[in-house]
């Protein structure tokens, strides 16, 4: 299936707030599972497009997470899989006891994938001993506890933090564009002082800043996905997630300011975007996390070497694209 068809299909489906069975019927959860293993056999570029659309439509399903889990598991997924980026606890006698903080989609997950001391473990949702809804994510995020829960150890030699960060950039990029579209539409519709809001230069300049941040996030995200095929993507994950995170505060501030009081209501759609953006900003690495990662890397490398390092990586990723 061409990129275009896949994304058109996902775009139409997500606009209707589908349930899990509707996205499963199309095979989307197994987008990154190889065809030979019974999956969809999509590329990372396809995954970027679909994950971005989950953000663009503020889809209330852990689809991006399940797609990524499929890439790690390399076999068809069974139900909704959430991803934990903050896992504390211990493994004892092949059982896991511990806590997973602020797991997006955690309350509705059939399985949860987490990384503990370098090990990737797959937990079953029915073994959750207690679940606490998060203030920010409301119905869509929870902190989960497990006591002596069985798990499956997954053989995978990647870094969940890095690949999870790349996934979040696509969702954030989509959510920025979704909130931008809503904000521009509102500014072109709402009248005050006898004029559309969008006619005021002050509003135009603010929305232009919003568009700039959204554009940067979108460009950073696709570039990070291009690097995944290269297999070594820490630098790109760090740059892209950090740039998307840096866009988050400015973009959401402007989206809400343009909307005025209506945007602050539960009923209006803006909060579906902005609450997710705030949640994703802290998920799989904050600015502090990735800036420290990059700062360490570059300080070791030295200012004279950054340029050739960045260029060489970009040319390597580009040669793999197609």
């Amino acid at each position: 299936m061409s990129d275009h068809l896949l994304l058109d299909m996902a775009d139409k489906l997500f606009a209707e707030a589908p349930d899990w069975s509707a996205v499963s019927d199309l095979g989307l959860p197994d987008l990154l599972v190889p065809e030979s293993a019974g999956g969809f056999g999509g590329t990372w570029q396809d995954a970027h497009g679909v994950m971005r659309l989950t953000g663009f439509h503020a889809l209330a399903l852990p689809l991006a997470e399940t797609i990524l889990a499929g890439a790690i598991l390399q076999r068809p997924t069974k139900g909704r899989i959430a991803l934990a980026d903050n896992c504390s606890g211990a493994i004892s006698g092949e059982k896991f006891s511990g806590r997973l903080e602020a797991v997006a989609g955690g309350h509705q997950a059939d399985q949860i994938l987490a990384q503990l001391n370098g090990k990737i473990i797959l937990l079953d949702g029915k073994d959750i001993t207690s679940s606490e809804k998060n203030i920010l994510l409301g119905e869509e995020g929870a902190s989960l506890e497990f006591t002596a829960a069985p798990f499956e150890e997954i053989a995978w030699n990647g870094d969940l933090m890095q690949i999870g960060a790349i996934m979040r950039t696509a969702q954030m990029a989509g959510a920025f564009d979704g909130a931008l579209q809503l904000s521009v539409g509102y500014a072109n519709d709402r009248e005050q002082f006898g004029r559309k809001l969008g006619k005021f230069q002050a509003v135009q300049q603010e929305l232009a800043v919003f568009a700039l941040e959204a554009a940067a996030a979108n460009c950073a995200s696709i570039a990070a996905f291009r690097s995944v095929a290269e297999g070594d993507y820490g630098f790109e994950a760090a740059n892209a997630k950090l740039r998307c995170n840096m866009a988050a505060a400015k973009a959401t501030r402007i989206a809400h300011q343009v909307h005025g009081a209506i945007g602050f209501t539960k009923e209006y759609d803006l909060q579906h975007f902005t609450r997710r953006i705030w949640g994703w900003r802290s998920s799989f690495g904050s600015e502090a996390h990735w800036a420290e990662y990059l700062g360490d890397l570059l300080a070791q490398m030295g200012g004279d070497n950054l340029w050739s390092y960045m260029i060489a990586r970009d040319q390597a990723a580009s040669s793999l694209t197609d």
Binding site: A215, R243, Q315
Partner: protein, 377 residues
């Protein structure tokens, strides 16, 4: 809605060799460049270095061989540009001619203009300046008043341009002037290629706040140019200048002016761990801007007009290069003396930075373009 459609870059097979070649040429000269000269390097005049670049085939890279050009892909030219900028090379002498003036002559010029100017530009021997701003036409460019009137086969030009970078060293100017008496705004405008040694031109330097003497006032007092000095079509000046501005705004120089200071900051972060956060944040912006800038180049290479995307990259890029000196100053406790390269670059950039979001289209003008692109107004 998609705020930015990112294009995938396919590097040419020659990319590695090309980078090695340009880096080798840079290495032959770079000992001579002071830290201060390395920042904002694309306004730094060094005719000797420009000639060396010309000799090596790094000017007019994408132009036809017929005019001395090298018929290389747009992306190869970009590679050379970004390597020069990252190294802080003094490329100011030929930069404007190579980037936009020669490109305009190639696109709109008659044979006489092409045959005369393009080979000289390619050799690094002819430098250009931009004749747009006037005392009462800054951001509001359509207010230009400088005029050209027909007199027999010639045109006679009267008026004044201002903020003209490099006018005192340039060999020619491409000027936007009013050719239709009584016309208003975007109507009745045309472009001319004016030799700077023409009789009746007076150039007067304007000293900037850093004591730099890059820009000038240029006065035209009955300056007579032949008919073939008219660039493109009479009355088509506004359309041509819009294309010129898109070219002017699309390059990597719009985010790399402060790059050498940022590279110096990275070295400081080894000894001062508190700087790592800032280094990381700047790196994420730089890396992203480069991706955006490449995307614009891919579109240009396909012959598209990415005016909106170019405005976005320029605005974000200008804010980035403008923020760097202020952020470095805030993050470091270093005296602003000339005793070390970082302090020298910082002292200089703090003064230059305000111009970054003015030259080539102000931040407010660019955001107006972006707002229109969003469907506002």
């Amino acid at each position: 809605m998609q705020s930015f459609v990112s294009e995938t870059v396919r590097y040419p097979a020659e990319a590695d060799r090309l980078r090695a070649d340009i880096r080798a040429l840079i290495a032959r000269f770079s000992d001579q460049w002071t830290p201060r000269e390395r920042v904002n390097c694309w306004t730094n005049f060094n005719p000797e270095f420009s000639r060396a670049l010309g000799e090596a085939g790094f000017i007019g890279m994408i132009w036809p061989k017929q005019y001395g050009g090298h018929e290389r892909p747009v992306l190869e030219r970009y590679i050379v540009q970004e390597e020069l900028l990252a190294a802080g090379a003094p490329i100011g002498a030929h930069w404007i001619a190579d980037r936009q003036s020669g490109t305009l002559i190639l696109r709109y010029g008659n044979d006489e203009l092409r045959n005369h100017w393009l080979p000289r530009i390619v050799r690094g021997e002819a430098f250009a300046c931009i004749g747009l701003s006037e005392p009462n036409a800054g951001s509001d460019l359509a207010s230009v008043r400088t005029s050209a009137r027909r007199d027999g086969d010639d045109w006679v030009i009267n008026g004044q341009k201002i903020w003209t970078t490099g006018a005192h060293m340039a060999h020619f100017m491409i000027a936007l002037v009013r050719t239709e008496a009584g016309s208003e705004r975007q109507q009745g405008l045309s472009q001319f290629v004016i030799p700077m040694d023409a009789e009746g031109i007076t150039t007067r330097p304007i000293t900037d706040l850093s004591d730099g003497k890059d820009f000038n006032e240029v006065f035209f007092d009955n300056v007579r140019v032949p008919a073939h000095a008219l660039l493109g079509t009479e009355g088509n000046g506004w359309e041509q200048v819009t294309a010129e501005l898109a070219i002017e705004r699309s390059g990597p120089e719009r985010y790399l002016s402060s790059y050498p200071l940022y590279a110096a900051l990275i070295d400081e972060a080894r000894a001062i761990p508190g700087l790592k956060q800032l280094v990381g944040q700047l790196t994420a912006q730089l890396w992203t801007l480069r991706q955006m800038s490449l995307s614009v180049i891919v579109k240009l290479g396909r012959g598209e007009d990415p005016g909106l995307e170019a405005a976005m990259v320029k605005d974000l890029g200008n804010s980035f290069e403008q923020d760097i000196p202020a952020l470095v100053q805030g993050a470091m406790d270093t005296p602003l003396s000339n005793s070390r390269p970082l302090a020298e670059m910082l002292s200089y950039l703090l003064q230059l930075a305000p111009s970054f979001s003015l030259r080539g289209g102000t931040r407010e003008v660019l955001r107006g373009i972006i707002a229109r692109g969003l469907g506002l107004r």
